[in-house]
């Protein structure tokens, strides 16, 4: 769950857009295997949107964990089945993303055992510009277990690097385009999903 409302909405809109794109491509383009990949990503986006909101915290977790574990196996299977070239790295990334989803659903209640609180803005602080106060402080009360924090930090860094790399490829791919091409949009969607995963993992730190 993302405590800060503005960030929650940005996250929601980003994943809704990425999910809509994956769904569109699932319906319109590709082989059966490609469509399965897109369907899995669309469902992952939907789960991420739900995970950001408090109302979805009570949704049954076991089916979600099983689903994302199977999805991770699917991508790992594609990787092992020998898809060569630059796709190997991205298939590994997708497998890790699905495994990361399963892990986040598993540990979310542990990580969210604290609650976000906002302290009121301090009375005119030592700064003293009339009409201005130093900002309110938002703090996380309670701590996640150390193992959750460590894994979340590692995942946040890995997905941040991966998301940035996807974005770099999207920029290079779209450099000469006057309109958005399917390939470029796909790279952007991957960047959004990966950076979103990094954000959600960072929230758990």
């Amino acid at each position: 769950m993302i405590g800060e409302l503005g960030l929650r909405w940005i996250f929601t809109l980003a994943f809704a857009a990425a999910g809509a794109f994956c769904l569109y491509r699932c319906v319109r383009h590709g082989t059966v295997a490609h469509r399965v990949c897109d369907a899995l990503h669309a469902l992952m986006c939907a789960a991420m949107v739900a995970m950001a909101w408090p109302a979805a915290m009570n949704v049954a977790r076991v089916p979600q964990i099983l689903f994302f574990a199977v999805a991770a196996l699917w991508f790992a299977g594609m990787l092992v089945a020998g898809r060569g070239g630059s796709g190997r790295l991205s298939l590994g990334h997708h497998a890790l993303m699905m495994a990361g989803m399963a892990w986040m659903v598993l540990v979310m209640p542990l990580a969210m055992s604290g609650t976000m609180t906002s302290a009121p803005a301090s009375a005119p602080a030592s700064g003293d510009h009339a009409g201005m106060t130093m900002g309110a402080a938002t703090t996380m009360m309670g701590d996640a277990p150390a193992h959750v924090t460590i894994v979340a930090a590692v995942l946040a860094v890995v997905f941040l690097v991966a998301g940035t790399a996807w974005m770099a490829r999207a920029i290079d791919a779209g450099r000469g385009d006057s309109t958005l091409r399917l390939r470029t949009a796909g790279l952007v969607a991957n960047a959004v999903m990966s950076l979103g995963m990094a954000l959600m993992a960072a929230v758990l730190v």
Binding site: G6, L7, I10, C22, R25, H29, G30, H34, C37, D38, R83, G85, S86, G87, S90, L91, H93, H94, A123, P124, A125, S126, G127, D128, H129, A130, G131, M132, T133, M134, G135, A136, A137, T138, T139, L160, G163, T164, A165, W166, M167, A168, R169, A170, I171, D172, A173, R175, G176, D177, S178, R181, L182, R183, G186, L187, A189, N190, A191, L195
Partner: protein, 452 residues
């Protein structure tokens, strides 16, 4: 093959990205130009009102001379007697603090909370400590006890008297200032690095008047002012409406918060109170020198807090808690024991306000603000000088579009991710940057349509 790569990459129609400085420069130039043109007026207003604010301590001494100063005389009434005399002037108020006269020619300030005052404002009664004469009463602001003229100029500097909406102007200026300065620095140093001559970087060029000479003044002055402007931007953001929250969160997360003294009293029977004078005497004996402010216990079970209030170098910010029933000191917090980050925060705020180093501080800030105004004016002047000699347009040429297409993805992507993170934590920067980008895209489409 992954889902992103199923469509074959386009044939070689994509222009190869430039490398190094050639790729970065056009992007930085556009950023520096558009941000400067857009934020320039706000920076000028902030600089002008900032100069006015810097000199308010002297202004207060002149305008409120009657309230602040008294003829020197031997002896003084007790603080409790002075508070009593002040209370008669504000019967509906509640005393929250007392600032004893630090010298024989100063008045004692008795600070009240009264119904109807805006948040952060106090009603302060000024008492002659020698005779008990009430010299006047003023509405003051904040823990710095800003008198009305300083409060008015301060609000002008921070929000143009437009409330929270007005605070966006100063946040916009502070949010973009560091971006403009850093982009300008890189452009200036990068431009001159081929010449390998320090003089051309550090000093403006001579020669006939014109855009070239103006650019050298803009660049060299910007270089000299850069560190100070970055400091003003960073410290200014701590007061801002939205980015200020991020700064507070960051300080909390990193444990950089200013420590506060615990005023819990252990032995106070209800109603027992030794009074202001006994509290001040006890803290003075313990080495707490003037100037100080005595804050009354906020609620039962709490003690007095006596806090030093000198904000010029060397800062005096020690504080002591005193049990109101016994007059015993229950806690001491020394400024020397503050974490370094809290000290830096204190010094940074006071330097920004022109208080830390007195007149020298005021002169440096005035020079910085005047320099900033010159930089903005020279920037606009250079734009004007770039206008075509012929044609209908009245404006100067803008940096060319499509600069991002020449920047390699491995460079641009981290920049975009970094900008998104910064834009979140500095929301006014983020939203205005997004606005720039949307406007730029729309103008680009329109231009292509017209061309077609």
């Amino acid at each position: 093959m992954s889902i992103a790569e199923r469509e074959a990459p386009p044939a070689a129609t994509t222009p190869a990205p430039a490398a190094g400085w050639a790729a970065i420069r056009p992007l930085l130039l556009r950023l520096h130009f558009y941000a400067g043109v857009f934020v320039g007026p706000f920076l000028v207003v902030a600089a002008l009102t900032g100069i006015a604010y810097i000199y308010t301590p002297q202004l207060e001494q002149v305008i409120y001379d009657h309230e602040l100063h008294v003829p020197a005389a031997p002896g003084a009434l007790s603080l409790d007697r002075q508070a009593e005399l002040a209370r008669a002037q504000a019967p509906d108020g509640e005393i929250t603090a007392v600032r004893p006269a630090p010298t024989a020619t100063d008045t004692t300030q008795v600070i009240f909370d009264r119904p109807g005052l805006a948040p952060g404002y106090h009603h302060t009664v000024f008492v002659d400590p020698h005779t008990g004469e009430v010299r006047g009463a003023l509405e003051t602001y904040g823990s710095g006890q800003s008198l009305p003229v300083r409060g008015w100029i301060s609000t002008l500097h921070s929000s143009l008297h437009l409330g929270d909406f007005g605070r966006l102007y100063s946040e916009l200026a502070a949010s973009w200032l560091w971006v403009i300065v850093l982009a300008g620095l890189v452009l200036w140093i990068g431009r001159r690095r081929r010449e390998r001559r320090a003089r051309s970087v550090l000093l403006p060029a001579g020669g006939p008047p014109g855009r070239r000479r103006l650019l050298s003044w803009h660049g060299a002055a910007g270089l000299w002012a850069a560190a100070g402007l970055l400091f003003l931007s960073a410290t200014g953001l701590t007061w801002s409406l939205y980015a200020g929250e991020s700064v507070s969160d960051l300080r909390s997360a990193l444990d950089w918060k200013t420590p506060s003294i615990s005023a819990a009293a252990t032995s106070s029977p209800a109603g027992a109170d030794v009074g202001f004078q006994a509290v001040r005497d006890a803290t003075a004996r313990a080495g707490l020198t003037d100037p100080v402010e005595l804050r009354v216990p906020g609620k039962p079970g709490k003690g007095y807090v006596v806090q030093q209030i000198q904000r010029s170098w060397p800062e005096k910010q020690d504080s002591m808690a005193v049990d109101p029933a016994t007059g015993q000191i229950t806690n001491t917090l020394r400024f020397d024991d503050y974490p370094l980050a809290a000290k830096l925060s204190r010094w940074g705020i006071d330097a920004h306000m022109g208080l830390l180093f007195g007149v020298a501080n005021q002169i440096v800030l005035t020079a910085l603000a005047a320099g900033l105004i010159c930089l903005v004016v020279w920037g606009y002047r250079m734009w004007w000088q770039r206008r075509p000699a012929r044609g209908e347009t009245r404006f100067g040429r803008r940096p060319v579009r499509g600069a991002w297409r020449r920047v390699p993805g491995r460079v641009l992507a981290p920049v975009l991710v970094g900008a998104a993170v910064l834009g979140y934590f500095l929301p006014v920067l983020g939203v205005s940057l997004l606005g720039f980008l949307v406007l730029d895209v729309v103008l680009g489409w329109r231009k292509r349509e017209v061309a077609a």
